[in-house]
């Protein structure tokens, strides 16, 4: 058994527009693999969480080049809905609404410079002033206890982003990292404010394409371009290995599924899913194969319990039924049989009742279980519950004479 710690930071740019924190992260703690092969991935892949999102951007970049479409991205760029919704009853002026809407529009796609409406070469003082000016406009306190409806979330998102931009760009080190890692050294050299405020796509994918075009145009400059940092290279390699591995398990799993080996299929899909968490196909197949496997296993356990009953080994039968229940907790039959077994061989009527209730709970449309439960309530002198159970039975089968009679008697 190998335990490894693995942290993933995904999709800042692809996050849905409503997310107020763009530096969203995903993290998984300590999952374990039984597969001996897994030690190929030993070691820690950890990325420091950072405010400026630069490393995450780099990582996203690495991931999208490595996973080769095996996984679907997190939904692309949801363009925020424009401010067409009704503003009636909101404590907002028309100019405020249009200002908030325009600041929110494409917020996640803006560079930090664009967020602050500043040119790339802006000085520290200008950054501070811009931050103060924008804060006065978008800080939630400026709308304190006002009825601003859905604009509340937009405001929070804008203020978070403005703060993030200010924090990053006013820190010399962080700004340098952001400029090189995210915007790219030879990327857009924005000299004037007007150019900076124009909406420019900076999704890494698009940036990469743009970069490739520019590199073609200017091969000298491309040659001089600094290679990505070592840790990103390392990550890319590790990711590629993981994804290749995942693909192998997918193939193996599909083969097993075709041959009816549901258990093998499930464990292969699970591995594929673990290695490549974005692989939704693996997830779906895993669920399917595991359910099939479980169904088969539970049915097998049930069959064996019936054999044990015939052999008059009650204890063994009970044990096997319990296992069947655990294996397939959504199947009423196992509960119902278990309840019967308990009723026949012990005096623990209340325990049996619990199992009957469970059977009805998981299969509420089953008349037999409902009737059994009602009868059990009558036996246990719980008339109110019994009435309710019979009434439920009558809803399932309005012509049920047993239930009708029982109800009459109870009333």
């Amino acid at each position: 058994m190998l335990s490894l710690r693995f942290a993933l930071h995904l999709s800042p740019s692809g996050a849905s527009g409503g997310d107020s924190d763009s530096s969203e992260e995903e993290q998984e703690f300590d999952f374990s693999l039984d597969d001996a092969d897994a030690d190929e991935f030993e070691g820690e892949i950890e990325i420091e969480d950072d405010e400026e999102g630069s490393v995450q951007q780099g990582f996203e970049h690495a991931l999208s080049s490595a996973d080769d479409g095996a996984a679907t991205g997190a939904g692309g760029n949801d363009a925020p809905a424009s401010g067409s919704e009704s503003v009636d009853g909101l404590d907002l002026r028309a100019d405020q609404i249009s200002a908030i809407d325009s600041a929110w529009q494409g917020l996640d796609d803006k560079t930090l410079y664009e967020v602050l409406l500043l040119p790339r070469n802006a000085e520290l003082r200008a950054i501070k002033r811009a931050y103060y000016r924008l804060s006065k406009e978008y800080h939630p306190d400026k709308f304190y206890r006002k009825n601003i409806g859905a604009y509340k979330e937009k405001l929070e998102a804008i203020f978070n982003k403005v703060t993030e931009a200010y924090r990053t760009l006013s820190d010399t080190e962080a700004r340098k990292d952001y400029d090189t890692l995210v915007l790219g050294k030879s990327g857009r050299d924005v000299a004037s404010g007007s150019e900076a405020t124009a909406t420019v796509d900076f999704v890494p994918e698009a940036l990469r394409k743009k970069q490739a075009v520019e590199d073609k145009k200017n091969p000298k400059k491309a040659a001089k371009k600094a290679p990505p940092p070592v840790f990103i290279q390392k990550l890319q390699k590790q990711l590629a290995t993981r994804i290749a591995k995942a693909r192998k398990h997918m193939e193996e799993g599909e083969r097993a599924l075709a041959q009816g080996r549901d258990g093998d299929a499930a464990s292969n899909f699970q591995l594929a899913m673990t290695l490549d968490p974005r692989n939704t196909k693996a997830k779906a197949l895993f669920t399917k194969s595991r359910n099939a496997h479980r169904n088969g296993k539970a049915e097998e356990l049930y069959r064996r319990s019936q054999e044990a009953l015939l052999a008059e080994d009650t204890k063994r039968a009970a044990q096997l039924l319990q296992e069947a229940v655990d294996c397939k907790p959504t199947r009423g039959k196992y509960y119902s049989e278990f309840a019967k077994l308990i009723n026949e061989h012990t005096l623990q009527q209340r325990v049996a009742l619990e199992h009957m209730k469970k059977a009805v709970e998981v299969e509420p449309r089953n008349l037999e279980y409902t009737m059994d439960l009602a009868a059990a309530y009558v036996d246990l002198a719980m008339p109110t519950n019994a009435v309710r159970a019979y009434e439920r039975a009558l809803r399932l089968d309005p012509k049920n004479s047993v239930a009708t009679k029982a109800l009459k008697k109870l009333k």
């Binding site: 924190d21 995903e26 993290q27 374990s32 304190y144 206890r145 968490p277």
Partner: protein, 599 residues
């Protein structure tokens, strides 16, 4: 526009301010003082006393006089800070049974929120008396270094007192608001050095055009003026012990006298070279009274407190650097808190920042003034002022191996939020426990536990499949909240929250009800007192008239009058409102009749 009061809920003194035409003003209490002692006492007759009246009886009623509640509020009973505070106070500090703190006084047990609510209620009343109408909205200040539990408890105290606490703000930030209010335009870096009765805070701010941006903040929640007093107390008690073999610290009444004398001595030494301490009849030995008589020089006092002051300076330098600045970048240093009156503190601050300090504003009042300004900024339509405050402590969660994974680092501008995804480790695991911590230590043990959250009801799935997105948010009050959402289903996840020390809604409502009952009782008391007085004076008047009228009143009537007088007597004894009312009416009638005979 509704008035918002600003309350500086201090360790030793509290102060309330309100914005008027020109700007914020401090509201004096009925005694004419700008500040009110943060003291609650319970008299022998069961009466609750708050403020100066409580302070005056502290010596004779030490075990039933609660002071320094701010040092205990929102803390865990087993913490070192509580032990330290409990050792130095005459009232009982006890475990509430859930790890929190209760205090016992006047034969009753109170939460710290209740004690603070009594003080806040008094401040509310002071403001109402001054304004002539009711107020409900308030901004309350707390030390910048207060953690989530302490802030929440303070807010709850406000609610119990019947206040709508529209914001909790940091004391040094409030001071900066009050100080920097007049100046606009130019960009300035300010440092607020706040050394109050119980806490030390330092905040560094950039100010420009009405925007107050807190750059960094630091401090020590358990360092303040009372520690300075304690040094004098120990010094005096040690020399007394050496001389007479009696430890005054073991005698509650002597200790209370010593505490007051030490505080006075400290204040005296701010403007005198030496101070004389005289406490006659402080103890008895062999049946003979002994008096304490000792002089303390400023030099000796400064030796006693040198390490405390140095500790403050270290924190100051570190905080300025955390904001990415040097002490020389700070163009103004504002001193707040009574303890900054000590000359040594001022000297060291000036040395540390290389510039003279601002002492224009009254350090006791500036915090309340700033709170009132912030309150006005929040409710007014056209305010140009905006405060960008930060969280003073890092927020993190416990991970494997007792380590902390930081989610929101200290000095992050609030409000802020951070999303974090959680998944399972075991197959079909249906719950994930999340331990939320506040503090800077890398190990779990060195941090303050905010709460344990149980993410439950996770769909059955293999390990690593569920994806539960948890949002950790810090609001503008600096209070943390946690919400969770299952990313696959979009369903809100149920969370069981066990925040340490916070009040449940039930508890809070019960305390609010109690306060309302108390107020009704008090009103009842007042009206009963009034009725009693009326009956008493009517009774006296009737008795006065009776001898002269006796001859003219018939025998039958005389009997009636005697009955009425007897009923009035018994009504006065019982203090029953109904009896008093009927006695008053009957007496009034008798009085009218007798007056008629007289004419």
């Amino acid at each position: 526009m509704e008035k918002v009061i600003g309350i500086d809920l201090g360790t030793t003194n509290s102060c309330v301010a309100v914005c008027e035409g020109k700007g914020p003003v401090v509201v004096p209490n009925r005694g004419g003082y700008q500040t009110t002692p943060s003291i609650v006492a319970f008299a022998d007759n069961g009466k609750r006393l708050v403020g100066h009246i409580a302070k005056r009886q502290a010596v004779t009623n030490a075990p039933n006089t609660v002071f320094g509640a701010k040092r205990l509020i929102g803390r865990r009973f087993e913490s070192e800070e509580v032990a330290k505070t409990a050792a130095g106070v005459p009232y009982q500090v006890v475990d509430d049974g859930q790890g929190g703190v209760h205090v016992q006084a006047g034969g009753q047990t109170f939460r710290l929120q209740e004690i603070s609510s009594f003080i806040l209620g008094e401040m509310k009343k002071i403001a109402e008396d001054y304004l002539g109408h009711e107020v409900s909205k308030a901004v309350i200040t707390v030390p910048a270094y207060f953690d989530d539990a302490q802030r929440t408890a303070t807010k709850e105290a406000g609610q119990i007192a019947g206040l709508d606490v529209i914001r909790i703000i940091n004391e040094p930030t409030a001071a900066a608001l009050a100080y920097g209010e007049a100046r606009a335009g130019s960009l300035n870096n300010l440092a607020v050095f706040d050394l109050g009765g119980g806490t030390f805070d330092i905040s560094v701010l950039s100010v420009s055009d009405g925007v107050f941006e807190v750059v960094s903040t630091g401090g020590d929640t358990l360092l303040g003026g009372t520690d300075f007093d304690r040094r004098i107390i120990d010094y005096l008690a040690e020399s007394f012990l050496a001389q007479y073999g009696i430890d005054l610290r073991e005698d509650k009444v002597a200790m209370q006298r010593l505490r007051e004398a030490s505080e006075n001595t400290k204040c005296e030494l701010s403007f005198k070279r030496t101070a004389e301490v005289t406490l006659p009849f402080i103890a008895t030995k062999d049946g003979q009274p002994i008096h304490l008589q000792q002089s303390l020089s400023r030099g000796r006092f400064e030796e006693l407190i040198a390490d405390l002051v140095e500790h403050c300076m270290e924190i100051s330098v570190r905080t300025v650097e955390e904001g990415g600045l040097q002490t020389s970048d700070v163009s103004e240093v504002i001193l707040v808190g009574g303890q900054t009156r000590t000359p040594l503190v001022q000297q060291e601050v000036e040395k540390c920042f290389g510039r003279s300090v601002s002492r224009g504003a009254n350090p006791d009042e500036v915090v309340a003034l700033g709170a009132a300004l912030q309150g006005q900024a929040l409710v007014s339509e056209d305010s140009d002022m905006l405060l960008l405050d930060v969280t003073p402590l890092s927020l993190g969660i416990a991970t494997v191996g007792g380590k902390v994974s930081q989610l929101i680092p200290k000095n992050t501008t609030i409000p802020t939020q951070k999303k974090h995804s959680f998944t399972t480790v075991h197959e079909n695991q249906n719950a994930v426990k999340i331990v939320v911590l506040q503090g800077e230590a890398e190990e779990v043990a060195g941090n303050k536990l905010l709460g344990e959250f149980l993410l439950s009801g996770i769909r059955p799935a293999p390990a690593g499949v569920p994806d539960v997105e948890v949002t950790f948010a810090i609001d503008a009050d600096g209070i943390v909240s946690v919400t969770a959402r299952d990313k696959d289903t979009g369903a809100e996840q149920s969370i069981t929250v066990a925040v340490s020390g916070g009040l449940s809604d039930d508890d809070l409502n019960r305390l609010i009800e109690q306060r309302e009952e108390f107020e009704v009782d008090q009103k009842q008391d007042e009206s009963t007192g009034e009725a009693h007085y009326e009956v008493e004076s009517l009774h006296r008047k009737v008795m006065d008239l009776l001898p002269a009228a006796e001859a003219s009143v018939g025998g039958e009537d005389l009997h009636t009058i005697m009955d009425v007088l007897a009923a009035a007597k018994s009504a006065m004894n019982s203090r029953d409102p109904a009896q008093l009312a009927s006695a008053r009416d009957q007496l009034a009638e008798v009085y009218q009749t007798l007056r008629a005979y007289e004419d």
